[in-house]
C-alpha cells in the first residue's frame, strides 16, 4: 500500500477519511515500512467494513494486517446494536476463538537442555497434531452440549487442569450465552473426537525461552525472568468452529443484511433472529476453543511429568484473536455496550480494567503475539491508551508475507528442520510440506510488528521469546 495515499496522522497512525458509503474513517496502526509492505486489499476491505451499519468511531487495522475474508486479518470494528449494528461471520473468521495460551514453567533454559529431545518426543506423542488426528476423548451428545456451554470451566470440572487456571483466561474460560441448539448436527459431528487436538496449518505447540525483558515491572508482575521456559499453544475451535463459520456464512449470504459492498462481509443485524443464533453458536465455538486449549494444557503437563517431573506449569494467560465480544466502551462521551469484532486481533485491556485478575490489575492484560517456528514470539501488555485508540485492541502475530504456494516452491521441509536443529530449535511434525508452507521466511518480521504496536501505544513489549521446541500440526 502506498503511504502517500493515506493521511498521516502520526508516524504510526494512518487515516482514510470517509468517502462514498463509508460511515466512519478507516485507521491503520503501523510504521511506514509495514504500510508499504501491506496488501492493497487491506485498504479495500477496511473501507468496506466502514460502510456497515451501526459501526462506531472507525474501522481499525493492526500493524500485522493482511488480506482476509471481508474483514482484513488484523481488523477491529465495534457495532452498536441500538444503531442497527451487525454481526458478521467473516468478521469473526472460520476458526472461531482461535488464540494463544502461554504457560509459565518453573524451569530455566539450563534445566531443560539435558531433557530437550525427550521432552520434544513426549510432547509430539502426547498432543495429537496434524490432519486426521483424533483425541483420546469421545464426547456423547449431552457431554458435547455441556462442553459447548461450559468451555474451559467444563474441562477443569472433568479433571483437565486446575481451577486456578481459570483466573488467567478471558471471561474466566467460559463465554456466557452459548446456545448449543444453534450449532448444527454437522458441526457437532466434526468435533466428537477432536477434543484436545492441535490442528494444522499455522497452529503449533512451542516450548520457548525468554530471551529479553523490555519492561521489568510488568515482567515481575507476570513472574517472568530472562531464560525462563514458556510453553505456548496456538489453536482454536477445530472442526466445530470451522463448520459453524461455514453454516452461518451461507445463512448470512442468503438471509442476512442488505446491501453489503462485498459478499464476504455477509452479516446480520445483532437484534435479528439470525444474528442472535449466530452469537449463540459463536459463543459455543468459543467455549469449544477454550476447552480444547485447556485439554491440551493438561496433555502438555502430562508430557512434562514424564520427562521433567519437578517442573510446575502455571497459566500465564489465554487470549483469543478471532472473536466478537460484548464490551463497554466510550463513544462521544457515552459509555455504550458494543459488539467488538476482532479478526486476527487481540484484546489489550490496560491497567485497572475491571475484567483483569487482581494479580494483573496494576500492569494490564498480557497480549500474546505468536511468531513462527524459527523466529521470535512476544508477550506484550495492554495500555491505557488502547481503549481510545482501537477499543482496547492490538496485533496477534506476524502475518504472512508470502503465500503457501510461493513458500513450498522456495523451501523444503526436511532442509528447514535440519537448519533449525543446527540453530537449537527442535521441530516435530508428520508433514514436511506443512513445515515448508510455514517456513519462517514466509512471514513478516514479527519484531517490526511488535515494535509498531508499542510505538502506536496499542500495547507495550514485556518480553521476547525464542523457540526451543516446536510441534507443528
Amino acid at each position: 500500500m502506498n503511504p502517500q495515499s493515506l493521511l498521516r496522522y502520526s508516524d504510526f497512525e494512518w487515516w482514510i477519511k470517509p468517502t462514498g458509503q463509508m460511515r466512519v474513517p478507516a485507521i491503520i496502526y503501523a510504521d511506514e515500512q509495514l504500510i508499504t509492505d501491506m496488501d492493497e486489499k487491506v485498504r479495500e476491505q477496511l473501507t468496506n467494513v466502514a460502510t456497515l451499519p451501526g459501526i462506531q468511531r472507525a474501522a481499525y487495522a493492526m500493524p500485522d494486517a493482511h488480506w482476509g475474508y471481508g474483514f482484513p486479518i488484523g481488523g477491529v470494528a465495534a457495532f452498536d446494536p441500538n444503531e442497527g449494528g451487525v454481526i458478521s461471520a467473516g468478521g469473526v473468521g472460520f476458526d472461531i476463538s482461535c488464540g494463544v495460551r502461554s504457560l509459565h514453567t518453573t524451569l530455566t533454559a539450563n534445566d531443560l537442555e539435558p531433557q530437550k529431545t525427550d521432552l520434544a518426543e513426549a510432547l509430539f506423542r502426547g498432543v495429537p497434531a496434524g490432519v486426521g488426528s483424533t483425541g483420546e476423548i469421545r464426547l456423547n451428545e449431552q457431554e458435547m452440549d455441556n462442553m459447548l456451554c461450559g468451555g474451559a470451566q467444563w474441562a477443569v470440572g472433568q479433571g483437565y487442569g486446575i481451577p486456578v487456571d481459570l483466573d488467567r483466561m478471558e471471561e474466566r474460560g467460559r463465554a456466557i450465552g452459548a446456545m448449543p441448539e444453534c450449532v448444527s448436527r454437522e458441526a457437532k459431528k466434526r468435533q466428537f473426537d477432536e477434543m484436545g487436538t492441535l490442528g494444522s496449518g499455522n497452529h503449533y505447540l512451542e516450548v520457548q525461552r525468554v530471551a529479553q525483558i523490555y519492561d521489568a515491572a510488568a515482567a515481575e508482575a507476570m513472574g517472568l525472568h530472562k531464560d525462563d521456559i514458556i510453553v505456548s499453544i496456538h489453536c482454536g475451535s477445530r472442526g466445530l468452529g470451522h463448520q459453524i463459520g461455514t453454516d452461518y456464512l451461507k445463512s448470512m449470504l442468503i438471509q442476512g443484511y442488505r446491501p453489503i459492498p462485498d459478499r464476504e462481509l455477509a452479516c446480520a443485524p445483532i437484534h435479528s433472529e439470525l444474528g442472535q443464533h449466530y452469537l449463540g453458536a459463536m459463543r459455543a465455538a468459543t467455549n469449544c476453543a477454550l476447552a480444547n486449549r485447556q485439554i491440551i494444557t493438561h496433555l502438555v503437563r502430562g508430557a512434562f511429568d514424564q520427562t521433567l517431573p519437578d517442573a510446575k506449569l502455571t497459566l500465564l494467560y489465554d487470549v483469543s484473536h478471532n472473536t466478537c465480544k460484548i464490551e463497554q466502551h466510550s463513544v462521544d462521551g457515552d459509555r455504550r455496550e458494543l459488539f467488538v469484532h476482532r479478526k486476527g486481533a487481540t484484546r489489550s485491556f490496560g491497567p485497572g480494567h475491571p475484567d483483569l485478575p487482581p494479580s494483573l490489575l496494576a500492569v494490564g492484560q498480557p497480549v500474546l503475539i505468536g511468531g513462527t517456528m524459527g523466529t521470535e514470539s512476544y508477550i506484550l501488555v495492554g495500555t491505557s491508551e488502547s481503549e481510545r485508540l482501537a477499543f482496547s485492541s492490538a496485533c496477534h502475530g506476524a502475518g504472512r508475507a508470502m503465500s503457501r504456494t510461493q513458500a513450498t516452491k522456495r523451501w523444503h521441509g526436511r532442509q528447514l528442520i535440519d537448519e533449525l536443529r543446527e540453530r537449537g530449535v527442535l521441530i516435530r511434525t508428520r508433514s514436511f510440506r506443512g513445515v515448508a508452507e510455514e517456513a519462517p521466511g514466509a512471514y513478516k518480521d514479527v519484531n517490526a510488528v511488535a515494535a509498531a504496536a508499542e510505538q502506536a501505544k496499542l500495547a507495550r513489549r514485556v518480553a521476547r521469546l525464542v523457540p526451543v521446541i516446536c510441534v507443528k500440526g
Binding site: V131, T134, K189, R190, S200, R404, S431, F432
Partner: protein
C-alpha cells in the same frame, strides 16, 4: 481441456478448476482442493461417498460443493482423488472416491477449514470453457 491449478492468496490458497462443462470445472476444483491438503497422486480410489447440496446460484453452489467435501474429509478421516458431479439447475449430486488418510504416506500439509466466497467465480468464456474458483481457508 480439464485442468486445475492453485492461485495465491495472502494467507491461504486459491483453487481453480477448468472444464468443458460446469460439472467438469467443479470436479477439477475439487481435485485442486484435495491438492491443497495432500499429494493427490498418492491417494488411492476404493471407498465411495455420495454428497448432495444446493444453493441459490452457481457460485454459492461451488462453495457448498467444496464445503461438502471438506465435511466428508473431516468426519470420515478420508482423502479423495476422483470426483463426479451431476447438476440439475442449482442442485448438485456428487460422488467422491478415495481412502482413509495416512498422514505420512499422503504427506498431508494442512487441513481445509472451509471454502470461502473470496475470489469466487463461476464463468464460461467465449470458447465454452468453464472456470470455477474460490479461496480455501486453511
Amino acid at each position: 481441456m480439464a485442468a486445475w491449478e492453485h492461485f495465491s492468496h495472502g494467507s491461504d490458497i486459491g483453487v481453480r478448476g477448468i472444464g468443458s462443462s460446469v460439472e467438469e470445472a467443479f470436479e477439477q476444483t475439487a481435485v485442486a482442493l484435495m491438492a491443497v491438503v495432500a499429494d493427490v497422486t498418492t491417494i488411492e480410489r476404493g471407498e465411495i461417498v455420495e454428497v448432495q447440496c444446493d444453493a441459490p446460484d452457481l457460485e454459492l453452489l461451488l462453495v457448498s460443493w467444496l464445503n461438502a467435501i471438506i465435511y466428508e474429509m473431516a468426519v470420515r478421516r478420508m482423502l479423495f482423488c476422483k470426483f463426479r458431479v451431476v447438476l440439475a439447475g442449482c442442485s448438485l449430486k456428487g460422488t467422491l472416491d478415495g481412502e482413509k488418510v495416512d498422514p505420512e504416506r499422503h504427506q498431508v500439509a494442512v487441513e481445509a477449514k472451509g471454502a470461502t466466497v473470496t475470489a469466487l467465480r463461476v464463468t464460461c468464456d467465449q470458447d465454452g470453457q468453464w472456470l470455477a474458483q474460490c479461496v480455501i481457508d486453511v
